[in-house]
């Protein structure tokens, strides 16, 4: 047995097809045991190992091929193909015999060169068979042939105790060095000059060898593919086989139970009929007997009368007359009683119609099925809904026959349970339905019943489906951006809460490529900070999501990642200031301002006439510019959001500002933080101030944009995000320019 297991192992490795096993197991294994003595067995195993070692160190193709075969075999094992003898044998019946003939040489080649020759021939045949378009199974066998050939031609050198005559080696001994293409044979170079090859096309032998190898490899590849295809096909057949078995088995059971039922019913009917028949018979017999008895009694009476009359006739006249009168009366009475000679009961059957209707129904029910059981409604498939529709799915029990379903639904309303919502019902043939014209972001309750000609099923469980939300509405006026990111806010667009939002970004540079390049998903709130590439334009959409699915896209918003873009925050605005529609111009009008200061506030400035901008909370560089009038008194800079609104900008640790005052035709520039300023004089009043906020280097720099002149740099350590701030100490106007790229000269600071 040891030998056999070794052999199986070896074959398992190399045999691509299960049916080879059968032949081995069925026909060969025992023979082999007898054929090979113990010693040979051991040797053979060594050989197998040597061959395998050779194979693994040999060409990569061989290895790949083996891996593939192992895989194939695993599949075979997995699907239990090799255990299915019936199936296997069926296949083998229709197979070329090469698999069978191939096997024995495997064990015998060593001692039988003639057999080996045959094997070569066989493989040749196999090749031919393949060329002729032989079926897949055949080619699989052939594939093994090829590989064995390969193994024998390449692996033999390692076998130390056996020697074979190899055609290739013989060729080498003849020292052929070129290949005649016309004759398809290797020749020696000088033959080219003299021989019949003179006019023939000749190529170097190596080249010929290479092309031949290529050809073989190509064929091997084709064969491998075919093996896989056929394996798959076989597995598919196997599945079909199983299904057929199952289906027919089921039907068999079905028939059996039905026919048994019918037979039982018939037997019962028979019993009933027989019993009824017996009773009827008894009844009739009894009736006849009774009639017979009464008839006999009558007869007796008649006879007695007759005798009495006869006796009377022999009497004397007086007695006769006397008795005759009495007799006449008696006779008259007797004759008056009607003698019933009608047969009270008929000997034949009364009309005995056999009622087979229930049997017929049973017979009929062999092919019809009872009313279906309640369908099972599926929970909602995520992302299957739209804003106005859901796709409802359900399933039936496999034994049920259903002609149609009735799908009912109504909106789920927690708020007003007393008020019944209208129910809707529809009839559907399929086990799914897209229900349309629904309200967005709303829960609906669905249930379904199945119907066939036998009747209506109970209702399914109720399942709650939800429609997708309405699209959100982007607050385009609140978009803030910088070179690396955008902060985008939106309104939900839905009354009920939604699960999350998705932001979709498309680079606007390539309008024809409409595909979404990036999505940010699972955003719980109505705003999102999205990382972007600098210097690009993006079109941004937002979708709202619930379990039902995503909404349609919101209206698009366009964002340019050029410079930092912000708008003024009107909530912080001092009452005396007016902010323009675009949120970028600050106006303090000339009209006489009220003398009374507004009451203190935490949100908007009350003392200094200032307003803040909404800068995106991103650490990095932010640059913006402010157009000023050179005679205007203004303050520009940055401040924390919670800077005291009752204090002047720059009068605390929470703000850093450049202040300009113009008095008696002198310009004064202060760079204020915590009420202190360096002493700096500027000879040319800037008309446009550039402000660079650099979180990375903790700097805030001011520039005269027109001159590219650096004015001052604060070293500040903003521990949290700051916002641009602006104030006007006198009536006038400040105009902010942002969303612009940073001039090169500011990059030095």
């Amino acid at each position: 047995m040891e030998e056999e297991s070794g052999e199986e192992l070896g074959l398992d490795r190399s045999t691509p097809k299960d049916f080879h096993f059968y032949h081995m197991d069925l026909y060969d294994s025992e023979d082999r045991l007898q054929l090979f003595p113990e010693e040979n067995t051991r040797r053979r195993k060594e050989v197998v190992q040597a061959e395998r070692a050779n194979e693994s160190t040999g060409a990569g193709d061989g290895k790949a091929q083996r891996d593939l075969q192992e895989e194939v075999e695993e599949l075979v094992h997995l699907y239990g193909l090799e255990d299915d003898h019936e199936l296997g044998d069926e296949f083998v019946e229709n197979m070329p015999r090469m698999g069978v003939s191939e096997y024995p040489p495997y064990g015998m080649k060593r001692r039988d060169p003639a057999r080996e020759q045959r094997d070569w021939r066989l493989s040749g045949e196999a090749t031919e068979a393949e060329d002729l378009g032989f079926g897949g199974w055949g080619s699989a066998g052939q594939c093994q042939d090829l590989r064995e050939v390969y193994r024998y031609t390449h692996g033999r050198a390692s076998e130390e105790y056996e020697c074979y005559v190899i055609p290739e080696e013989e060729d080498e001994e003849e020292a052929a060095d070129v290949f005649c293409v016309t004759c398809k044979t290797p020749i020696r170079a000088f033959q080219k000059v003299f021989d019949e090859h003179k006019e023939h096309e000749v190529i170097p032998l190596n080249e010929a060898l290479e092309s031949a190898k290529d050809e073989i490899h190509k064929n091997m590849y084709k064969l491998e593919k075919q093996i896989i295809d056929m394996e798959n096909f076989a597995n598919h057949l196997e599945e079909v086989f199983i299904t057929v078995e199952e289906n027919f088995g089921k039907q068999e059971q079905n028939f059996e139970s039905h026919y048994n039922e019918i037979l039982e019913t018939l037997a019962q009917k028979y019993e009933e009929k027989i019993q009824a028949l017996g009773e009827k018979k008894k009844e009739k017999v009894e009736a006849l007997y009774e009639q017979l008895v009464s008839c006999g009694e009558n007869l007796d009476t008649c006879k007695e009368l007759m005798e009495t009359i006869e006796e009377m006739c022999h009497e004397e006249k007086v007695d006769f007359i006397k008795d005759a009168v009495a007799m006449a009366d008696r006779l008259g009475k007797f004759l008056k009683t009607k003698t019933d000679v009608e047969i009270s009961t008929q000997p034949d059957f009364e009309d005995q119609t056999l009622d087979f209707s229930d049997v017929e129904q049973l017979m009929g029910s062999i092919n019809t099925i009872p009313a279906p059981s309640a369908p099972v409604i599926n929970p909602q498939t995520p992302n299957s809904a739209t804003g106005s529709s859901v796709r409802v799915c359900w399933s039936l029990y496999s034994d049920d026959t259903v002609e149609s379903y009735q799908l009912s639904y109504r909106p789920v309303q927690d708020s007003s349970p007393g008020k019944d919502q209208a129910e809707f019902t529809m009839t559907i043939k399929e086990t799914y339905c897209s229900v349309t014209d629904l309200v967005p972001n709303t829960q609906y309750e669905f249930w379904v019943t199945a119907h066939n000609r036998a009747g209506l099923s109970p209702s399914s469980e109720r399942a709650v489906y939800v429609t997708a939300p309405s699209p959100p509405i982007i607050k385009t006026k609140e978009i803030r951006s910088c070179e690396e990111a955008v902060l985008i806010c939106w309104e939900s667009g839905n009354l009920n809460p939604v699960d999350s939002y998705t932001v979709e970004l498309t680079q606007a540079e390539s309008p024809e490529a409409s595909g979404v390049t990036e999505s940010v998903v699972g955003i719980p709130t109505c705003e999102s900070l999205v990382q972007l590439q600098p210097g690009q334009s993006y079109v941004i959409y937002v979708r709202a999501l619930n379990t039902g699915g995503p909404s349609t896209r919101s209206e698009p918003a366009t964002v340019h990642t050029i410079g930092s873009y912000f708008r003024l925050n009107k909530d912080t605005c001092h009452p005396w200031l007016t902010i323009s529609q675009d949120g970028l111009t600050i106006l303090r009008s000339e009209r006489s301002t009220p003398t009374k200061e507004p009451p203190p506030s935490d949100t908007h400035f009350t003392r200094c006439v200032a307003v803040m901008g909404n800068l995106i909370p991103v650490r990095g560089h932010h640059y913006w510019e402010v157009e000023v009038d050179e005679h205007l008194d203004y303050t520009v800079g940055v401040a924390f959001e919670d800077v005291p609104k009752q204090e002047d900008l720059g009068a605390n640790c929470l703000s850093w500002c450049m202040r300009h005052t113009f008095a008696s035709s002198r310009h004064k520039y202060e760079f204020l933080h915590n009420r202190t300023t360096p002493d700096i004089r500027i000879t040319v009043p800037p008309k446009k101030i550039g402000i660079l906020l650099d979180y990375e280097n903790s700097k805030l720099s001011f520039f005269n944009v027109e001159l590219s002149q650096h004015l001052y740099t604060f070293s500040c350590q903003p521990h949290k995000f700051v916002h641009p701030c602006f104030s006007l100490e006198k009536p006038g106007c400040l105009k902010i320019r942002n969303g612009i790229s940073m001039p090169k000269h500011v990059t030095f600071y």
């Binding site: 310009h667 002493d679 500027i682 000879t683 040319v684 005269n704 650096h710 004015l711 000269h745």
Partner: protein
Amino acid sequence: MALKQISSNKCFGGLQKVFEHDSVELNCKMKFAVYLPPKAETGKCPALYWLSGLTGTEQNFISKSGYHQAASEHGLVVIAPDTSPCGCNIKGEDESWDFGTGAGFYVDATEDPWKTNYRMYSYITEELPKLINANFPVDPQRTSIFGHSMGGHGALICALKNPGKYKSVSAFAPICNPLLCRWGKKAFSGYLGTDQSKWKAYDATHLVKSYPGSQLDILIDQGKDDQFLLDGQLLPDNFIAACTEKKIPVVFRLQDGYDHSYYFIATFITDHIRHHAKYLNA
């Protein structure tokens, strides 16, 4: 025009060198220091000239200001010449620290006995740049100038007298209006004679008034506790007023607590190097 290398020291990846050459303009041997940043190994770099103050030589700046790191980072070749001719054996040249040796005031002298040697203006604006352009990897189109005290005066007048020649100019505590200060009066009368109209050609405040308006961004740092400021030798306010009137861009920073020393220079040298780099590397 032969250059003789006096020293060479590696500094922030580049080389701080000192050379000696025979100046034609000054008729004497002159030393100058040149810093070659690492970038100069692979290509031409902008040139930034530093003019030292009274009593200075080429050594003060290169040993005390700590400019090397910034120059290395911005890739600037920095040239620091001596402040005056030396060893000319002119009578009285070593009598005082604020005139003669170490106090050339960056003018071309017209008076005897100085006019042969004391031609520092021509040396700084003509001879030295030619020498540097010929011998070092610098881009002649990108040149700036700065200095300290008397050198600040020199830098300002060189820039104001040659619109467009220098991309930018800056100064530490410059003598802004020599016509009106004792140092200036002494030096100008000695080098230029008594005709004060000639002096105006070397007075920054006066030069501003006739400056044709080619854009020049001037950065000036001034220590608030500078004794020479308090002494009325520097007079920056006059210069600021002139520039304000003529709309010449100046940022003048009065630095609280700083004096006239190299400690003051070292504190703000990085700002100045960056100021020049902004224009030289634009």
